[in-house]
Symmetry: C2
Subunit: 189 residues, 2 copies
DNA sequence: GAAAAAGCTTGTCCTATGTCAACGTTTTCA
DNA sequence: TGAAAACGTTGACATAGGACAAGCTTTTTC
């Protein structure tokens, strides 16, 4: 149950067994269904989710009803409505498991307790933020001023498994192109 | 010279006078010209810049020669090629002062020394990362699936001074639209 | 302060991609 | 397992906005 999480942590910090068990004790297992919503648009996010099995999607829907996905967390990754988790404002986005999933959940309170109590865990949080920031910047550069074909090539380059793992619709909503366009591009390789 | 920086720090952390002077002692004044480049495309970023006067722009140029700007730091703000500063990979972007500017510069080594030596300064770094992350997510949601008019409205809403402060060209390259389109939209309010 | 450079605006034209709809396939779940 | 729903693909058509160029204005620089 906790192997993947322990692997995640030990890959990123020097943590001894005792501390590791202490950290893991704050994460509670949770089973979810396909398309289950974990955080709603107006809610304030109070939980951080680690994906043991399945997949989490973070997305929003604008006034015109257009869906845009901003992040997918697969097995072995963390995901939540992080802006809301950080600043405790309404999420204005949804957190959803797009498949039947097995998660490990930690509350915000416990998470920040660990961040301040265990310096090594604080460094993990810092690394999450740094990586999140870098990823977001790459995405901005990778998408702006690129046409649909280039975006698809970009995602194949940067996240090779992405198109295989998520539906055509969701991939399109991540790339900011219409499902038809994505479909046409894929058919031409 | 250091008032703005001190204000920035004291607004975000509990730092006593002695520590404040210690922190400031690592920041060196620097004068730059209009359009001076501080970090080049292939360089690895070793400096963090605080803007005392003037303005820093972070941008890149892709193979097709299209410029895209990802961030502007104005008076009282920090700016650098942060992804490169963090992971010490080539920047693949430029840092530039778009006006004659007055900066306070700290080296990466000193910066991370302060982060680990002064817990309160570590919290400032964390806050920078958190805010950077949140801002980037908002930008992704704010630009994806929006047409040119909506993007312009978005920037007026979110950074009211932006269009007044930067050139039409640079604003367009930030918004991901052509200068002509931005010009046309502005003329219609 | 004059010449040169850079920038802004606006017209014309053109293309990439969105929309909508029809159809066939796959998935879901009772 | 079979009906219904969801999804993917493809065609026809419409359009937002990019490219380019010309003319005008502002800024820079020496």
């Amino acid at each position: 149950m906790y192997e993947l999480l322990k692997k995640y942590i030990s890959n990123r910090a020097q943590i001894n067994d005792e501390q590791m068990d202490f950290i893991c004790s704050f994460f509670k297992p949770m089973q979810t269904k396909r398309n289950e919503i974990l955080v709603r648009y107006e809610e304030i996010c109070q939980q951080y989710y680690f994906v043991n099995k399945g997949c989490i999607r973070i997305f929003t829907i604008n006034k015109e009803g257009i869906e845009t996905s901003r992040f997918f967390a697969f097995e072995g990754g963390f995901g939540t409505a992080l802006p809301s988790f950080i600043d405790q404002q309404p999420a204005y986005e949804y957190v959803q498991t797009i498949e039947k999933s097995e998660l490990l959940v930690i509350s915000r309170t416990d998470f920040y307790y660990l961040v301040s109590a265990i310096p090594e865990f604080g460094l993990i949080y810092r690394a999450i933020l740094e990586l999140g920031f870098i990823t977001a910047q790459k995405r901005i550069y990778g998408f702006q001023g690129f046409d649909a074909l280039e975006k698809v090539k970009w995602i194949i380059e940067n996240q090779p498994h992405f198109l295989l793992r998520v539906s055509n619709q969701m991939a399109a909503s991540y790339l900011g192109i219409s499902p038809s366009t994505l479909s046409r591009i894929k058919s031409k390789l």
